[in-house]
C-alpha cells in the first residue's frame, strides 16, 4: 500500500516550558526511530501537529536545526487544537506531519547583512534561523534583530536575548510599555528610526502579524531595499500542508507548499495582496 502522508507520526511531548501566560514551548520527540532520524528541516519550515480528537494545526519549528533527538514548537493558545495541546502533560502522545514548506533562504543570505524583524509569536520561526546564524556566525555579516511584543509580559524566549546579544544586535520594543520597562515602546517600525541601509548587500526576513509585515515592508521599500531581498513568512488557514486542500492559496500560490516564506518580488505580482 502507498505511504499515506496524511497519517500523523506519533510523537511524545518531552518537555513543556511556559513562555508567557498564553504561550508555551513544547519539546517533541518522534517515537519511531527511523522517522526521527529522517526528520530534517530548514529554519522557517513548519509541522502539522495533531492533538488527537481536537484536530490538526500548523506550527513553525523553533528549535535549532542542529538539535537531533527532539524538535520544539512554540504555541500560543488560540482555539481548539491549541487549547487541546495546553491540556496535555509531558509524556503525552501527539501526532506530527512534516516538515512542510520552504524555509528561509539560508544559502542566498550567507555573506550578507541581515535584518530580522519579528512580532509576537512570529519570533518562533525566526529562532532557528537566529540560532543557525549564531552557530555559523562567520558566514554572515552584520545581523540585527528587531522584535516587538504587545507588552513586556508577552515577550517570548526572554532568557535567550542576552545570549543572542553577544553575537548579533538586538532591539526590543513593546506596544504598551509598563512602568519598569526601560526600552522602546511603540510598533516595531519605531526601531527603524535609527536604522539606515548601509549597503545593498542586505537581506531582511520577517514574521509577525499581517499588519506588522505590511508596514515593515513599506518601510523597507521606501528605504530602497530590493524587493527580492525582502522575505517574509505568511500565515494562512492550512489543512493538508501539501497544496491539496486549497485553503492557503493566495494569488494562485500554495502558501503551505510554495511558502510560507516568500520574497516581496514574488508576491508583488500576486493578484491578491498578501501583506
Amino acid at each position: 500500500m502507498v505511504e499515506n502522508p496524511y497519517l500523523p507520526k506519533l510523537a511524545k511531548i518531552e518537555a513543556i516550558k511556559e513562555e508567557t501566560v498564553d504561550t508555551r514551548t513544547f519539546k517533541i520527540k518522534i517515537l519511531d526511530e527511523k522517522v526521527r532520524n529522517s526528520f530534517n528541516f530548514t529554519p522557517g519550515q513548519f509541522v502539522e501537529l495533531t492533538v488527537f480528537g481536537y484536530g490538526e494545526a500548523p506550527f513553525s519549528i523553533t528549535s535549532s536545526p542542529y538539535e537531533h533527538e527532539n524538535f520544539s514548537i512554540t504555541v500560543r493558545r488560540m482555539g481548539n487544537v491549541t487549547r487541546g495541546l495546553f491540556r496535555l502533560k509531558e509524556g503525552d502522545i501527539i501526532g506530527v506531519r512534516g516538515p512542510f514548506g520552504r524555509g528561509w533562504p539560508i544559502e542566498k543570505i550567507k555573506g550578507n547583512d541581515i535584518l530580522i524583524v519579528g512580532g509576537g509569536i512570529g519570533l518562533a520561526p525566526l529562532k532557528p534561523l537566529i540560532e543557525y546564524i549564531i552557530l555559523q556566525r562567520r558566514l554572515f555579516n552584520n545581523v540585527i534583530l528587531f522584535y516587538g511584543a504587545k507588552t513586556p509580559k508577552d515577550i517570548i524566549y526572554k532568557e535567550l536575548f542576552d545570549i543572542w546579544k553577544q553575537y548579533i544586535n538586538v532591539e526590543l520594543t513593546v506596544d504598551f510599555a509598563e512602568k519598569d520597562w526601560g526600552g522602546h515602546s511603540g510598533p516595531v517600525t519605531v526601531l527603524f528610526k535609527n536604522f539606515k541601509l548601509e549597503s545593498n548587500n542586505i537581506y531582511s526576513v520577517q514574521c509577525g502579524p499581517p499588519i506588522m509585515m505590511h508596514f515593515v515592508t513599506r518601510q523597507l521599500l521606501s528605504m530602497r531595499m530590493e524587493p527580492e531581498k525582502i522575505y517574509f513568512s505568511l500565515e494562512r488557514n492550512m489543512k493538508c500542508g501539501m497544496g491539496f486542500c486549497g485553503k492557503c492559496m493566495t494569488g494562485g500560490r500554495y502558501v503551505c507548499r510554495e511558502g510560507p516564506v516568500f520574497n516581496y518580488s514574488e508576491v508583488k505580482n500576486f493578484l491578491e495582496t498578501p501583506v
Binding site: 480528537g53 484536530g55 487541546g84
Partner: protein, 237 residues
C-alpha cells in the same frame, strides 16, 4: 473519575429539541449510563449543584425563566443554546408579533416577549435549527466533552442541497431560502420538496439583497417571513 454531569433544561418551548435528543435511541442508553444526565423530562433533576455542560432549550418569556436561566448559568461550566427558541428567541414563525400592537390591544400583558437566552447570559455554543438536528447535537456533545468547540457551521443549506442532488426549487418558481440560510440540517426541507424557510437563521455572509433580486427576476414572491428573519438578526432589507 467523576462522571461528567450534563444538565438539559427547558424554558418556553415546544420541547421538540429535547424530543430530538430522546430520538437518539441507539445511543441514548449508553449516554445515560456513561454520564450523569439531569432533566425534568427524564425525572432525574435536582441531584447536583453544578454541571459540566448545560443545554438550554426554549426562550425566556418571564421573569421566573430569566432567574432560572441565570441560576443555570451560575451552575454550569459550558452553556449551550439548543434550538431556535434559545438561539434566536424562537422560530421566527413563532415569534412574529408586533409588540407595540399587542400591548395596545391587550394592555397589561407582561409576558409577551420571547427573548434568546444570550440576552441574559453568556453562551458558549449555539446549536440552531427548529428542531435541532440530532446528529449535529451529538457531534457538538462529543466535542464539548473534550472542551472543544466545533466550528459553528458556516456553509449554506444550498451547499448541502446539492449534495443530495436535488433539483433547485427556485427553478420551479418556489421561494426557497436555502442560499442565505446556515446549513447543518442536510437540506432536509428541499430534499422533501419543500422550500427552506430559513429556520436555522442567516448564514455568515447571507446575500439577502441578491436573493431578493433573484426572486424578482423570476417573478417569485418573497415569503413574508424573510423580513422577520432579517429583522430578527438585525440586518437590513
Amino acid at each position: 473519575m467523576n462522571k461528567i454531569r450534563i444538565g438539559i433544561f427547558s424554558l418556553s418551548s415546544c420541547e421538540g429539541c429535547i424530543v430530538q435528543i430522546l430520538n437518539l435511541e441507539d445511543i441514548l442508553l449508553n449516554l445515560l449510563k456513561k454520564f450523569e444526565i439531569e432533566s425534568r423530562i427524564l425525572g432525574t433533576q435536582n441531584r447536583t449543584e453544578s454541571y459540566d455542560i448545560a443545554f438550554v432549550e426554549g426562550s425566556v418569556m418571564s421573569i421566573d425563566e430569566e432567574m432560572e436561566l441565570k441560576k443555570i448559568r451560575r451552575m454550569s461550566k459550558f452553556l449551550v443554546a439548543l434550538g431556535e427558541c434559545a438561539c434566536h428567541g424562537g422560530n421566527f414563525l413563532v415569534r412574529d408579533f408586533n409588540v407595540g400592537e399587542i400591548l395596545e390591544r391587550f394592555p397589561g400583558s407582561e409576558t409577551w416577549y420571547s427573548n434568546p437566552i444570550d440576552r441574559y447570559v453568556r453562551i458558549e455554543y449555539y446549536i440552531p435549527g427548529c428542531p435541532i438536528d440530532k446528529e449535529e447535537f451529538f457531534t457538538v456533545f462529543k466535542s464539548l466533552l473534550l472542551e472543544k468547540f466545533p466550528e459553528q457551521i458556516s456553509n449554506t443549506v444550498c451547499s448541502e442541497c446539492i449534495l443530495k442532488e436535488n433539483n433547485c426549487l427556485i427553478d420551479k418558481g418556489i421561494a426557497c431560502l436555502g442560499s442565505i440560510t446556515r446549513g447543518g440540517c442536510k437540506a432536509i426541507c428541499p430534499t422533501f420538496n419543500r422550500e427552506c424557510y430559513g429556520c436555522r437563521g442567516l448564514s455568515d455572509d447571507a446575500n439577502v439583497e441578491g436573493l431578493l433580486q433573484t426572486f424578482k427576476e423570476k417573478n417569485i414572491e418573497p415569503p413574508t417571513h424573510l423580513t422577520l428573519i432579517t429583522r430578527r438578526e438585525g440586518r437590513k432589507t
